[in-house]
């Protein structure tokens, strides 16, 4: 049985940039609330932006690292296992014989870092598609090609 493989370290930056975008949007929203009628209520001035700032700091500096460490995968002989989740830990095992098709996708934030997401589709419902983000594009494509060889056109 092979070892668990972590994602590419650059994935932390991707997660951080995403978090930063969310944090900025959150701050803007909080500022808008601050400027609205909130002044007349019992809520102290600057409380909402302060909370948003705290949340934003958590999102940018703590969350991406945690999130990144929780992701890992193991490529077995006939199956792939993916572990993920920060609040709810999940571990999904997909036999290669059950893979319907595989996508390699690359988002706009991933592209500058040369990262890609591998998406595995099965005929199931709950785990109908399992994605594995944060692989080097070349690695993702190599993995896709290795899995593709093992896909058998089984009847469901």
């Amino acid at each position: 049985m092979q070892e668990l493989t972590p994602l590419d370290p650059a994935q932390v930056h991707v997660l951080r940039i995403r978090s930063a975008i969310a944090a900025v949007l959150g701050l803007l929203g909080a500022w808008a609330i601050e400027l609205s009628q909130l002044r007349e209520t019992w809520v102290p001035a600057m409380l909402v932006p302060a909370l948003a700032l705290l949340g934003g700091l958590f999102l940018v500096f703590v969350f991406p690292g945690r999130r990144y460490r929780r992701w890992s995968y193991r490529e077995g002989e006939d199956e792939i296992e993916i572990r993920r989740g920060s609040l709810i830990l999940r571990r999904t095992i997909v036999p290669f014989g059950r893979v319907q098709h595989i996508d390699v996708a690359q988002g706009p934030i991933q592209r500058p870092f040369g990262l890609a997401t591998l998406i595995i589709h099965t005929a199931g419902t709950q785990s109908a598609s399992v994605s594995l983000p944060g692989l080097k594009l070349a690695d993702a494509e190599a993995l896709r090609d290795r899995i593709r060889v093992k896909i058998r056109q089984d009847l469901v």
Partner: protein, 489 residues
């Protein structure tokens, strides 16, 4: 019958009448709706709308029929339809999971039937032939089943007598209807009231003016309430019986060449073949009272299953276990294991089930004491939910059969799933924030066509045990796979 007869065929002419009857009321209702918003009433106007709707409906029905053609070619069926936007769909026979034949009352008068070609795709009406002659429908099914060959004219259209696996007499159907208690009629009454309101024929808001509400309040006594409740229950039972008889009248399950053939219906006859090779999971269900009397329902999860029935196809709606066992055996499923052989979740899973309730109940109890006694009602409701969760923990369990994985659970409605190992799609183990410190995990076995609500899930297992079980299930899948491969050479 030579090939050219099957080239570019049109639908049965009765389609014109049936479609017309379906379109006209919709168009008429739309016209009346418009009239109602314009707030100009008058009987003459309704007549004009009716006439326009009838004429337009006839044109639309004709256009649909005229532009619809289907061709049975070599190993595939081609359906062309659409008036403005033409659509051409090719369905290869080996992609067809199932062919359902449905005959509504009107269709039966014309000897026509609606054919639904199930391919397991997402689109609902991708392979509908609505309607063709019943003889053509049977012929089409034979052609698709036997591959590309067109049937010989002299060959018998009907297959020889198939062995009956299960059937229900009228008495059984009526009895099963009593358990099909339905409050659908309440929804129906409400829909009618809303329709009438839209047409400004009634005004529900006027029923609740202060004066009238006061008059009404005097009428509402305990006896009146009890009588009303009794009436609702009686109507619910009657509605359940009627619905069941309409659906399950003459229920027959036979063993056909490719699977289990199900015929049923009073006015609308339907005929479906549940293909055995495509069955993923067997589901045995029972309600509280039915279970006490020994009645269960057997259904199969297949890929082409109708979402109306919850993604499963019913093989026996109301049967004794000894009637269910031969059907299961015929479909290649092992018998369900006895109650006591199931492995339950550990004791601390009970605690995990109670924790969220406590988290809500504690502040509610404080609120009841400090602010408002009525919060106590909420506490009582949560207590009931907690007891229900505890009882659910008791009935929940799993069992590893030689050839299938088995999960059971449910409080009032108890379910039992049987999944042959080779049908597994993926295994998912999850552990939430409450589960993690308690070393608990939930294992979900994903199957093809699984309904999102009720899939094979074993909740709150010991985390290590969940991992071990996942490995065993995967090993069993590999084993079953190797066995099938060996059989096929």
């Amino acid at each position: 019958v030579s090939e050219h007869v099957l080239q570019g065929r049109r639908l049965h002419p009765a389609t014109l009448i049936v479609r017309w009857l379906r379109i006209v009321p919709q168009m008429f209702a739309a016209g009346v709706g418009l009239a109602a918003t314009a707030r100009r009433e008058g009987f003459g106007r309704f007549l004009i709308y009716a006439a326009v709707a009838a004429a337009l409906g006839a044109v639309f029905a004709f256009l649909y029929w005229w532009r619809f053609r289907y061709t049975i070619g070599d190993g595939e069926i081609v359906i062309e339809k659409g008036v403005l936007r033409r659509q051409r769909r090719v369905i290869p026979f080996d992609r067809v999971h199932d062919i359902a034949i449905e005959q509504r009352l009107l269709a039966r008068l014309f000897g026509a039937a609606k054919v639904r070609i199930e391919t397991g795709g997402a689109a609902r009406d991708e392979g509908d032939l609505d309607m063709i002659a019943i003889a053509d429908a049977h012929a089409l099914r034979d052609i698709i089943r036997h591959g590309a060959r067109a049937p010989h004219a002299d060959a018998p259209a009907e297959t020889p007598e198939e062995p009956v696996l299960f059937e229900m007499g009228l008495a059984r159907v009526l009895f099963s209807g009593v358990f099909g208690f339905s409050l659908l009629f309440l929804a129906a009454i409400w829909a009618v009231v809303q329709q009438l309101e839209q047409l400004h024929l009634v005004d529900p808001a006027a029923w609740f003016t202060p004066q009238e509400a006061e008059t009404a309040a005097h009428l509402v006594t305990l006896t009146f309430g009890l009588e009303l409740a009794a009436l609702v229950i009686v109507l619910g039972v009657v509605a359940g019986v009627v619905r069941t008889v309409l659906r399950d009248f003459g229920f027959t399950l036979t063993r056909s060449e490719a699977g289990l053939r199900r015929r049923r219906g009073l006015f609308t006859l339907s005929e479906v073949v549940i293909p055995i090779r495509r069955t993923q999971v067997a589901l045995i269900e029972s309600g509280l009272i039915g279970r006490a009397l020994g009645w269960q329902r057997l259904a199969f999860q297949t890929l082409g299953a109708d979402k109306k029935e919850g993604g499963v196809q019913v093989a026996a709606p109301f049967a004794r276990m000894e009637e269910i066992l031969p059907i299961l055996a015929e479909a290649g499923f092992p018998p369900p294991p006895p109650r006591e052989s199931f492995h339950g979740a550990p004791k601390r899973a009970l605690l995990r089930k109670i924790v969220p309730h406590i988290l809500i109940a504690v502040p509610l109890t404080m609120a009841a004491f400090l602010f408002d006694v009525r919060a106590g009602v909420g506490v009582a409701a949560i207590a009931v939910l907690a007891v229900a969760a505890a009882l659910r923990w008791r009935t929940h369990g799993h069992y590893e059969h030689e050839s299938a994985f088995c999960v059971t659970g449910g409080l009032l409605r108890r379910r039992l799933w049987l999944m042959p190992y080779e049908k597994l799609q993926a295994i998912d183990i999850s552990s939430g924030p409450i589960q993690r410190p308690m070393r608990l995990a939930t294992l979900v076995v994903d199957t093809a066509g699984a309904p999102s609500m009720h899939s094979l899930a074993m909740h709150d297992l010991d985390a290590a045990e969940a991992d071990a079980l996942a490995d065993r299930l995967y090993a069993a899948w590999l084993g079953a796979r190797a066995l099938i491969k060996g059989r096929h050479g």
